[in-house]
């Protein structure tokens, strides 16, 4: 797989080679050491270290009062986290999979997102809801969901989706220190797909800032999370085989979007493709496409392409390779934008 373009955090002092999930654990541990008001809670996060081992070792390091195994109840986990935040703590609730987040949906959209506005700024709800999301790991039904649009649609929430280990730690740190509730979506397909130099100690990757993973002048590709990898693979193929140079923008934060970076890249290339694994209709691709048209219509050379999951439930694992955007589908979509 291509990791050539992943050099967003050149080593500046001490680094260690970590996978994305290890970088998240490191980020949690670093912040918990720095700030005693942080507590981690959720089903299996303690003794078991999380079903993906994202909280591995935290129970031993910080004890059962700060790394709390809760009863199995998503609404209860997020609802109590809201109360913990109102009490002055900084809770980091874990949803075991994004597909199990729906019982907590009411707590997130009716309350977490509105506490600041409802109290006219008097109260806030500082917390980070972590959830592994996306497909490609042969998981059972409801374990491969990619429904970031639900949360992006809700004013008051911020939504983050890293695609590299160094970003994962830096964005998580920024999310924990952010005064608003953040939905932190972890692309589980690449939890352990590659390692990268991750700075030790604390550092922030600012929220609301996209990253240019690959520069190019012919077409812009907008993506995030696990889809950044196949987008880079497709871009390399098109460069090698057809001399088409694709600029790949990893959005990193989905709410708020980095409109400036999105628009500036489009002004340069005049052509765009958006890649996401969620269903196409009313997915985030529709929003990005509209932003481009609102802000840069006169630069547009071709219809904007969306390469996405289908408007069908994610299939069981035998067929998920067909459902998720592959390098070939992404290539074809980019070509449709270039050869219009």
């Amino acid at each position: 797989m291509s990791t050539d373009s992943i050099n967003d955090h050149p080593s500046n002092g001490e680094v260690q080679q970590l996978t994305l999930v290890e970088a998240i654990t490191d980020g949690l541990s670093t912040e918990m050491n720095r700030d005693e008001s942080i507590i981690v809670l959720g089903e299996d996060v303690g003794v078991n270290g999380g079903v993906f081992r994202a909280t591995d070792g935290l129970y031993e390091e910080f004890g059962g009062d700060r790394v709390v195994d809760t009863p199995l109840a998503e609404s209860g986990i997020v609802g109590s986290a809201i109360g913990l935040a109102l009490s002055g703590l900084k809770p980091i609730p874990e949803m075991q999979f994004m597909g199990f987040m729906y019982p907590a949906f009411d707590q997130l959209v009716s309350h977490a997102a509105r506490i600041r506005s409802r109290s006219q700024g008097q109260y806030s709800c500082q917390m980070v809801v972590r959830a592994p999301y996306g497909g490609g790991i042969r998981a059972p039904e409801h374990h491969s969901e990619s429904k970031e649009a639900f949360f992006v649609h809700e004013p008051g929430l911020k939504v983050v989706a890293p695609s590299t280990p160094a970003d994962a730690k830096g964005l998580l740190t920024a999310s924990i220190r952010d005064p608003d509730p953040v939905i932190f979506l972890e692309p589980k397909l690449i939890y352990r797909a590659f390692r990268q130099d991750v700075p030790t100690g604390a550092y922030k990757v600012p929220l609301g800032s996209a990253s240019v993973r690959r520069t190019g002048s012919d077409v812009s590709v907008y993506t995030w999370g696990a889809m950044t990898q196949p987008a880079l693979i497709a871009a390399d193929h098109l460069s090698d085989e057809k001399g088409i140079e694709t600029e790949v923008i990893d959005l990193r934060t989905l709410s708020p979007l980095d409109v400036e970076t999105i628009v500036e890249s489009f002004k340069k290339t005049g052509r765009a493709a958006i890649v996401h694994e969620a269903p196409k209709t009313a997915g985030l691709g529709a929003e990005i496409s509209t932003i481009i048209q609102e802000e840069a219509l006169v630069y547009q050379e071709a219809p904007i392409q969306r390469i996405t999951g289908f408007d069908a439930p994610m299939p069981l694992h035998a067929l998920e390779g067909y459902y998720l955007p592959q390098a070939v589908r992404i290539q074809e979509g980019i070509l449709d934008a270039v050869e219009f």
Binding site: V47, G49, V51, L72, F100, P140, F310, A312, A318, Y322
Partner: protein, 386 residues
Amino acid sequence: MSTQDETDPSIAEIQPDSNIESEFDQVFRILDDDGHLLPGVDPGLSGDKRLAMYEDIKLARHFDQRAISLQRQGRIATYAPMTGQEGSQVATSYALDEQDWLFPTYREHAAKYVHGVDLPSLLTALLGYREGYAVPEGVNVMPEYIPIATQVPHAMGMAWGYTLQGKDDRAVLCHLGDGATSEGDFHEGLNFAGVFDVPSVFVCNNNQWAISVPRERQTASETIAQKAQSYGIEGIRVDGLDPLAVYVVTREAIRKAKNPVDGERRPTLIESVQYRYGAHTTSDDPSVYRDEADADKWRKRDPLKRLENHLYQTGLLDSEREAEIQARIEEQVATAIETAEAVEAAPEQIFEHVYQETPDRLQAQMDELNELRKKYGEGAFSGVLE
């Protein structure tokens, strides 16, 4: 399998064994740990039925071992083992009449099989094809539920619906785990069931663990059965490792759901006290969070062994017959694996059954995928990171 030709013994006649350890306090049982019938109890099933139940439990255990092995070989994906729990699963389905409905979770492979789902279907879903969720015509089994406790209000609603329509001949049996009792849906479903007095039976398979979180971290109540009191329905604890006791208790709950006597409430919450011998799923490692010596203690009450001992003691089983049964179940499971593995990938299936009529936009998406399959071959769709 499920049709009843037995008398329904009264639960009131069965006394809890006063000598059992604390986790089995106030738990109904019929067989002692060695499989002897306790004095003065009626297992409520003919010899032939008890033998058939034994064969189904034995098949379930063999299926479980084969499924774990197939997962280890990479032939099926994540699997939720049921060893230790299959006695209760089989027994609850034996207590159903054919027209009764079954709402399973992702672990009730044996309960589904006994109520009419074929073995290859169970494996087809595990091989990653949604066709495996298809239920044969006339078999009243819902596809498995993976989100926790969400099936509880559904089961209650179906039972309510049948009552509203005057269809009083059927009950609904809903499985759930001890973790599910923490979810809001559990409370809402049981509360409605009590309020509307519907013919529903909720079987909580209390296997002591919700992945790594022990039963005592799910609820501070002494038992799960006692939660029934909050909803104005009956709660009962049964030894989930005693298939005959589970049968008797469930059968009585089904009877009551359909034909309550004056003043009797229809719904029942059964706490089937059991133990998950193995991992939550093949993706889980229980050695991280629990003591295996604890599991060994529960294994001494193994449901298969206890029923087997009972059948030997009563002359219903001998070694020759046991060998015949063993050969038969091995062949059944082997044939099922062969049948399931013959299923071929049909990517068009992604687009089927999303709506009754496929919308144009979905048809167009399928056409687009098929064009790309033709152009690049199936290998291009084997993995995202390639």
